[in-house]
Amino acid sequence: MAAATAPPDTEESRCVLDREGIDALVRELRADGHTVVGPTVRDSAVVLDELAGAEELPWGWGVELEAGHYRIVRRTDGAGFAHSAGPQSWKNFLHPERVRQWTADRAPDGTMTVRKEPPSPVSFAFLGVRPCDLSAVRIQDRVMTGGRHRDDAYRERRTGAFLIVVECTEPGATCFCVSMDTGPAAHPGYDLALTEVVDEAGHRFLARAGTPEGAELLRRLPHRPADEATSGAARRSVEDAAGRMGRTMPPASLRELMAGSLDAARWDDVAARCLTCGNCTMACPTCFCTTTEDVTDLTGDHAERWRRWESCYDLDFSHLPGGSVRASPRSRYRQWLTHKLGTWWDQFGSSGCVGCGRCIVWCPVGIDITEEAHALHQEGLRRQDGREDGAR
């Protein structure tokens, strides 16, 4: 839903929800016809899936993250949102892995009839969107609907989606949203924002609306006015989270760093480790690249166009009749990183990285985007020093 007309965020517009308020939230969203999607524990991971009720949220679960490492761990405080990014992101729902775009039929006289895929009837409510992931949604908004050609399938899913952000109070060891300016506090773009507070005064959520629709929903939930203790505790825990980022990006313009690093020696180093498996692109909440598949049935007279995710790590991604443009793993890792942190600005007006850390966690060999950026930064500084020494 559009967040253009956010009501003023004052103390009066804030309120406190208890656990029963969260139960009611899921219930009301479902009653409104939304498919509620949120985090839940399945297959030893916090995944995103449809929720039948708030009891399916990962209450009492946290995550332990490192490069190439993901474990869910029990928490003693019963918190429901003290976990950071899991293997999926909201793009799995807004920009799904596989979408049929149109079908075509050919009559015996050769006449072709093309039918566009009807709009998706699903109206999503996303519960538990992390601030970094909200930024990722807004980045994909610009890619898929911000240009001359708008992607209808994305727009239909996105327009109907109700976004409930839960601010981040427990960053993971692979998180760096502070470096990317996407969290841990929520930026605008949500319908409803929650901050989970667990302390001696109890387990509760500070809530504020970002849209009239969010305010209207909030009024329907059992709530009480925000008290100073809850507001203060919520603010402090988000501020504390900002100081506990597991990773940072180098203190430089990443866009300029990438543009100036195209011939860096570091690419050879990372290419020696990178398997070009594409996991980082699948887990990344902003990676949007796709390929098309044209299929027919057995008669050959009914054809379909499907679009599915593809990775810039695939050798075929840059295929031309004369061979692949990016044949070496070095050039394909460079393409991914320089696009994500650099040329994304030229193409879509922002960074393509939100600092969620998924690419670090889900890389089978533990390649760390922040470590690579730091290494490129250091190499650039050394080169600069060398030039200055040479000039003396």
Binding site: R106, M112, K116, D151, T290, T291, A303, T338, T343, D346
Partner: protein, 266 residues
């Protein structure tokens, strides 16, 4: 909009060489508008797939596309008989922008790269007073691979030259790279706009030579090729550094392209 292809009827299919044919397409119903020299369409062969093909002619509502049959889709398109239907999406991308070129014109084509330049040459010939001298330099692999042979005699005022990589019996023309024809052309470099299309290696060599001769890089326009699936800026395939060539290209100024083409495997 995510446009689905519109059905177009094949009304002509002419052999240009052993593997290259020019299809003429008429809308079977609703027509696409906005095609300009340099821009391209996505052509869909029923059930086989879709490829980007530059517009090679724009006359009386008929779209011409010259297709070299090198893959499954392009071979299927080349095999289309008159009366068959293809799907067309477009137009996409940037145009040659002939209107901004008021001085001499230098058109340099290599192989199938002549196809997107043909409507530009035709447009320049139709309004000779709007430009300076028109030079057309064409390179082909062999004499048999030369496109639009019947048309060439009327092209180029004052110069239209052809060179081939490998001559055949009876060939009395030039043999060698296309840049060797530059000395025959008449243009004032500082006041010339160049339009280049062909294999990337030919584009690089020609653009370098033209810069050397004094044509400003922003007046050297090149048409680049990358893998393309959607043509709408959403699939990511056609990136060349900061450029999405379906959106920011295929026609790009050499001032922007030169530093990008200098990076291997970008």
């Amino acid at each position: 909009m995510t446009a689905a292809p519109l059905p177009y009827r094949v009304v002509g299919n002419r052999a240009e060489s052993t593997d290259t044919r020019t299809l003429e397409l008429e809308p079977a119903g609703e027509a696409l508008t906005g095609f300009r020299p340099g821009r391209f369409a996505m052509l869909y062969a029923f059930g086989v797939g879709e490829i980007p093909v530059s517009v090679a002619g724009l006359r009386h509502g008929v779209l011409s596309h010259t297709v070299r049959g090198v893959g499954a889709v392009s071979r299927a398109l080349c095999a289309m008989r008159p009366g068959a239907q293809v799907g067309v999406r477009g137009p996409f991308g940037t145009e040659w922008d002939l209107a901004s070129a008021d001085g001499d014109l230098l058109v340099v084509a290599g192989g199938i790269g002549l196809a997107p330049l043909r409507p530009l040459v035709r447009a320049a010939l139709s309004e000779p007073e709007a430009h300076g001298r028109l030079n057309v330099l064409i390179g082909a692999r062999t004499p048999q691979d030369l496109l639009y042979r019947r048309e060439l005699a009327a092209w180029g005022r004052p110069y239209c030259g052809v060179t081939v990589d490998r001559p055949a019996p009876g060939w009395e023309g030039e043999v060698g790279v296309v840049t060797a024809l530059l000395d025959r052309a008449s243009f004032t470099p500082q006041d010339t706009t160049a339009f280049l299309c062909g294999p990337e290696v030919m584009i690089r060599a020609t653009a370098r030579e033209l810069r050397h001769r004094g044509i400003p890089p922003e007046r050297i326009r090149i048409s680049l090729e990358r893998n393309m699936h959607c043509a709408t800026g959403h699939c990511g395939h056609c990136q060349l550094g900061p450029l999405l060539l379906c959106r920011d290209g295929p026609v790009v100024g050499y001032d922007r392209a030169e530093p990008l083409l200098a990076v291997r495997e970008l």
